[in-house]
């Protein structure tokens, strides 16, 4: 970190979503390399951020996609199906907790 306060930072919804992608990637990385309470904390932050991220996409990006992109309705429906699946998996992971050993495949 440079420790400087950013000035004149442009904030549109795409900036926000892209910077969230980066934070999500970093949180996954933190989760993999931490243990105990730090791991629990990283996990909780990740779950919260994913929920916020999906909500922003649904509220801002999906309506624009439906209106302006050729075949937008189908694209949005596919994304929604994907996100529903992700939410189910995430809920299952939340029940298991971040310290559960992976099942052998």
């Amino acid at each position: 970190m440079t420790g400087m306060t950013p000035v004149a930072v442009r904030h549109d919804v795409l900036d926000l979503l892209i910077s969230q992608h980066t934070r999500i990637r970093d949180l996954f990385s933190e989760l993999e390399s931490s243990t105990g309470p730090a791991r629990r904390e990283a996990f909780d932050r990740l779950v919260r951020l994913l929920a916020v991220h999906e909500t922003i996409e649904e509220q801002f990006v999906h309506p624009l996609t439906r209106r302006h992109v050729h075949g937008g309705d189908d694209i949005v429906e596919d994304r929604l199906a994907e996100e529903r699946l992700a939410r189910q998996r995430l809920a299952a992971l939340q029940r298991m907790g971040p310290d559960t050993a992976p099942r052998p495949v």
Binding site: P6, V7, A8, H21, R25, D26, S29, E32
Partner: protein, 404 residues
Amino acid sequence: MTFNPFEQQGIPLEQQLRNWRELNVVPVDPDHSDPYTKCRIIAMNGIEVEAIMFSHNFTRVCHDTEVKRKLAEIRYIEQQQQKIVNWLLPGSSSPLETTISYEQVAVDLTAWVARMEPDPYLKQAYEFGVLEDFDHLYRYANLYEMVQHRKAEKIVDGLTEVMPGRPTKFHHRHPADNVRDPYDRNTAAPLSKMHALTVMAAEQQTMNFYMNVGPQYMEPIARQLYQEIALIEEEHVTHYESLVDPGETWWERLVNHEYNEVYLYHSFMQTESDRKVKAIWELHLNMELEQLRIASELMREHDGRDPAELLPAELPEPLTFEPNKAYLRHLLDTQIDLTTLGAGYVSEAHERFEQFQEKIMGGEIPPSEFVIDAHRDHFGTDYRLETEGPHPAPELQQQASTKS
């Protein structure tokens, strides 16, 4: 430990072909692997691509069908080696993220080579070039934060500093001034020949990469910056390839290529931190030993010479990826204002340089400057990773935006 590449037994060529299962390598993890593992992968990919294109060029001027068949056999294996090596890169990394690693290769590979190069004229060529790659790393790192909202320190991990080098806008020279004088094949040290081949191959791969991934971006500034830096890679390939003696016979070139591949796989095997990647370097070393044996046989038969007379029985000290921060800071302090004139270097902007600059700039600021201005507008300052203190050149020290 002595390792004589002419006496070590390799894997017989007919046993080198891999099936689909063997080609299907597991890529490295972009977030947890050693940045220098990625550098070794990128460097070795460049070496294999050069091996392949050299072999194609040889084939195009070769009249002997038996030789062409032998080259085709080896080249197919080299293609598989290239696939294995380059497919170690993870699909989840964007081209821009890989670009940052390409520039980390260019910086720390060229700096190492410059430090180890025994010939002063060749050493100067690497010292000149590395300050330009160093600046490209800085420009792309600023683009990376703007486009992907992620800092290049996540990729280079503090091993390589990110700050201005010789400013990219000054790299655009008259093409005639990019041609250097070659070494003499009869008196040059074998290590000098390997250095020239290695850095030439790395820059050539970088040129090919940028000329192809640049248009895959939608952001205008990304498209423009790739165009600008890709044109400088053309200059760098011209610069380094002209160091190689054009009087080498085709057989000699073939043996030099194979020997260099043995040297580099052997080097990387010594220093690799990733166990699985190390196993690949070791396997490829054993394949290259056989390819060198075949090249040596061809040389004896067609050139009437024994490669052992040209190349050492013991490999040089391993080429190593390691931080070169103090060395680079010394170069920044002493060589930042150099340009080329004819086959040499000068510190003032001469007429041909200025005329070329005026034409290519067309009265506007180039993308490499615009990207920094845009970053300052967006984040308040340019992106840097100065782990060893402020920039050694006072005029290139960081300033906050004048807008606030």
